[in-house]
Amino acid sequence: MQLSTRVLVLGSTVGLGAAFAAPALAADPGTMDVTINIPRLKVAEYHKPYVAIWVEKAGAKAKTVAVWYDHDMKANEGTKWLRDVRQWWRVSGRSLTFPANGITGATRAPGAHKVAFSRAQLGAAAPGQYVLVVEAAREVGGRELLRIPFSWPAKAGAGGRAAGKTELGAVSVSFR
């Protein structure tokens, strides 16, 4: 009885709570922000790229966190080209059912796109080394893949970055 009262008091004490929460947040952020630049290309026929974002960890199955494709075509026709995002298709895509819940999104236009993933979404519950992989494949165009290693627990603030040359621009991650 006495114990539970103490807990209640602690929890309701704003100053104390903040004191506890602040260092915890700094040491162990819960969210990864990813900024993906899709370059504007001067080509005769342009289609927005299919993009897959996934997380790899040695010894674990790759975990897809997002796939941007033509998900709203009739009869699911947009899935026909998913295999062109070929490394992703091999490590994860081919075992998924489409539209895949929680990870499916529309293709994005050229520009900077910010997406956020929780630690749970990233499948990064266990502390260790991970790699965020971003692969883009464009209809009648090329394909490019970028890898950004990260570890969890992560430090708040800027994480890794990588720069594409053809189908992807700069891709960067930060943690909060």
Binding site: A75, N76, T79
Partner: protein, 277 residues
């Protein structure tokens, strides 16, 4: 020392049986895709017998024995069949997820008989079923040997499956150690080959990268199945590869005149797509 490789001649005879007027050329199938995504997908296949891979420049592959099987083992239709001057073409509607097999298999009898003091060859197209009617009355000393020719390809929708790799026990067959629809340049792949259902060492395996027309050197890999009938192939580049396995060739001296001993023969052909990493 003029050596003649009778295995090649036998291969030519086999091919001839398969695709009527062809001689010692390479037979192959070329699918539009081997790694497929989507809900309502088809594969289109070109099939030909040619020198260069993979160009249709000589004879079409006949489609009489062409069949397709869905991942659950049911036979599927060969649709939109057409045989032109240089190639045949057909479609298969891939209505199930998993690995499909498309194959043309021929089981034949080769051999000879004596009639009126002369030795005659069994005609083309002789099989165990029609042997009795192919051998004329009064023939004696009938000798036969079985010959099996398997030409097959695999196409996978979604995740690769291995449900279709149960061996029939006849001829040369492939057992995946590495799945034939999961091949990446720079990675080594291992396949096991069975001859009449048994893993067999010493089978010659030839692997040739397509695109021969635009390079000077064939660059073929000459491999041999090792213990357990296994062979490892490392793909230097992505692309389509022709893989041929035969029973060992019987060598005989030119000029001796004697035909090679009648032996059980088999050949296996597949086309493998190796993707870029």
């Amino acid at each position: 020392m003029n050596k003649r490789f009778w295995g090649f001649a036998a291969g030519a005879a086999l091919t001839a049986l398969m695709a009527a007027p062809a001689s010692a050329h390479r037979q192959w199938m070329m699918p539009s895709s081997t790694v497929v995504s989507g809900d309502d997908v088809w594969v289109t296949v070109d099939a030909a017998v040619s020198n260069d891979l993979f160009y249709f420049e000589h004879q079409p592959l006949r489609l009489d024995a062409m069949k397709a099987w869905a991942p659950d083992g049911t036979e599927a239709a060969i649709e939109n069949k057409s045989t032109g001057r240089y190639r045949s073409t057909f479609d298969v509607h891939l209505t199930q997820k998993g690995t499909w097999r498309i194959a043309s298999v021929a089981d034949m009898l080769m051999g000879s008989y004596d009639l009126n003091g002369k030795t005659e060859r069994l005609p083309r197209g002789t099989t165990a079923a029609n042997l009795a009617e192919r051998v004329p009355a009064g023939a004696t000393n009938v000798k036969t040997a079985e010959a099996n020719n398997r030409n097959e390809i695999f196409v996978t929708v979604g995740e690769p499956t291995t449900t279709l790799f149960k061996p029939t026990g006849k001829g040369i067959e492939l057992v995946p150690v590495t799945h034939p629809n999961d091949l990446i340049a720079g990675e080594a792949a291992t396949f096991q080959f069975l001859f009449d259902g048994k893993p067999t060492a010493g089978l010659p395996v030839t692997v040739i990268h397509g695109g021969i027309r635009y390079r000077d050197q064939l660059g073929q890999m000459d491999l041999t199945t090792g213990a357990d009938g296994k062979v490892e192939v490392t793909w230097a580049e992505p692309g389509m590869y022709w893989l041929n396995v035969t029973t060992p060739q019987v060598e005989s001296e030119e000029g001796e005149g004697a035909p090679p001993p009648l032996a059980r023969r088999a050949s296996y052909v597949t086309t493998l797509e190796v993707l870029a990493p």
